[in-house]
Amino acid sequence: MSRGPFDGRATISGIGQSAVGRRLMRDGLDLTIEAIERAVADAGLSFDDIDGVASYPGPGVPAPGFTGADVSQVQTALGIRSRWYMGSIETAAQVGPVIEACMAVALGLAQHVVVFRSVWEGTAQAGGGRASALVPGGELPPHLQYSAPFGALSAANWLGLPATRYMHDHGLTKEQLGQVALNGRRNAALNPAAIYRDPMTMEDYLSARVISTPFGLYDCDVPCDGATAIVVSRAGSAGLRRTPLVVESVGTGMYERPTWDQRADVTSMAAYDAAASMWERTSLTAADVDVAQLYDGFTFLTVSWLDALGLVEHGRAGDLLDGGDRIARDGDLPLNTSGGQLSAGRLHGFGHLHEACVQLWGEGGERQVARQPEIAVVGAGGGPVAGCLLLSNREA
């Protein structure tokens, strides 16, 4: 039988991350190039081997620091002879360009595509740049037309809504939600690149100031500076430094309308559609997943991904999270082993992708999970955007 949508032809051969910090005072292109150089070297390749470039979100997003670099800037800076390239925000969240790159190498449009996501929100927003978009008389962007007039200005508000209802309907407790944050912090302590590494207790979590119920400060990730890159290679490529990982399946579905608040089940989000499409394309199942790297821009997004991917019975995410043991590095389902965005910084989904590769290659050092994983799942995005990847270290 075929092996997923790419039949084993799409692999990940290298990963790279730039310096990561709250406020590095470096610009996005500089960080992006650092990550790309490291990823290409990690694969064992040179720039002469790279013939494709892809990125999220592409140009034109006005939020300060949201787009560290776009594809044309990278091509210009590095002189990459691209046989194929793309950059877009209208795709399966931050990992959409990874999936596009898989298609490109599987179809033979390119041999080695470098895919990057780069942010420098920490530095770019140092002057209060984010709030200045909301001045009197300014035109509200489309996604704020129905929310900002009522004081719902942040994703903390938009996601507080489904989180409150999920807790009401399914009995998820605040303490169980908090295990996402505490687990991340424990793992971040073993990740030298993580931003917040000091221990956090449940009391710290529960006593943090409220942002928008049920979220307190530690339910929300932090803007940072940092770029991540991976190299997507066609299976069978020569000259690689180590055995590449196989992209077993990808989730790109958008079955319901991409809104924050009009889905049939108000506790659900686009992640459910992405996850369903990923499982439709593979003979692997949720029971095969050994390690999960799930978007945690807010704690509830990780809950939502666990539920969406069927890693728990619908509504039962609280059971898995309760006490934190089962999601720890030696638990049934090690989760967000780099610290996630909550503790390692908002690398916008690519921190999770990077960590999935680290764990599958067994290169996690002190934070390597107890049982060497064979299958990893990565979920990226929240609300009306979502994409997911199923990766393995089995032979291509």
Binding site: L134, P149, F150, N157, V210, T259
Partner: protein, 146 residues
């Protein structure tokens, strides 16, 4: 805590398909797009029914009554004119619960808000030079202050 009107709100742009929703309050009506073919409401407004793809759609008045589908108590001061705490609510319409309106729920202690609570609309009139007149649909507990 009785509601007092803030000095400033960020206002939407009422034009085309969105005009009815933002200006229905002029006549005291919450106007939501409805498909004449499949007889279902939908939101946000648009040129076609997403269920049956009929073009026979138009804004229609609803009762303005509904229930709290879910809510969040915002505690972060995003705007100086909107001091926290305040309640952001998702209201499911009495006529059709899977059609939801995001709004603010006022005239209630945030600690008293509950999923399933019955609420009703009222309108707050705003105008500025760029956007003309806007009537924001806000909600309060049905039958007066809880």
């Amino acid at each position: 805590m009785p509601y007092t009107r803030p000095e400033f709100r960020l206002l939407p742009t009422a034009s085309g398909y969105t005009e009815a929703f933002w200006t229905g309050g002029r006549d005291g009506h919450l106007l939501v797009y409805r498909c004449e073919s499949c007889e279902q409401f939908f939101h946000p407004p648009g040129p076609i029914c997403w269920r049956c793809r009929s073009r026979d759609v138009a804004p229609a008045p609803v009762s303005g009554r509904g229930r709290v589908a879910t809510f969040t108590v915002n505690a972060q001061p995003w705007l100086p004119s909107l001091p926290p705490p305040y309640v952001v609510v998702l209201v499911e319409l009495e006529e059709q619960p899977d059609v939801r309106i995001m709004s603010q729920l006022v005239d209630i202690d945030p600690a008293e808000v509950a999923i399933g609570m019955e609420v009703e609309v009222f309108f707050e009139h705003w105008s500025d030079e760029q956007r003309g007149d806007i009537w924001l649909p806000l909600f309060r507990p049905a039958g007066g202050v809880a």
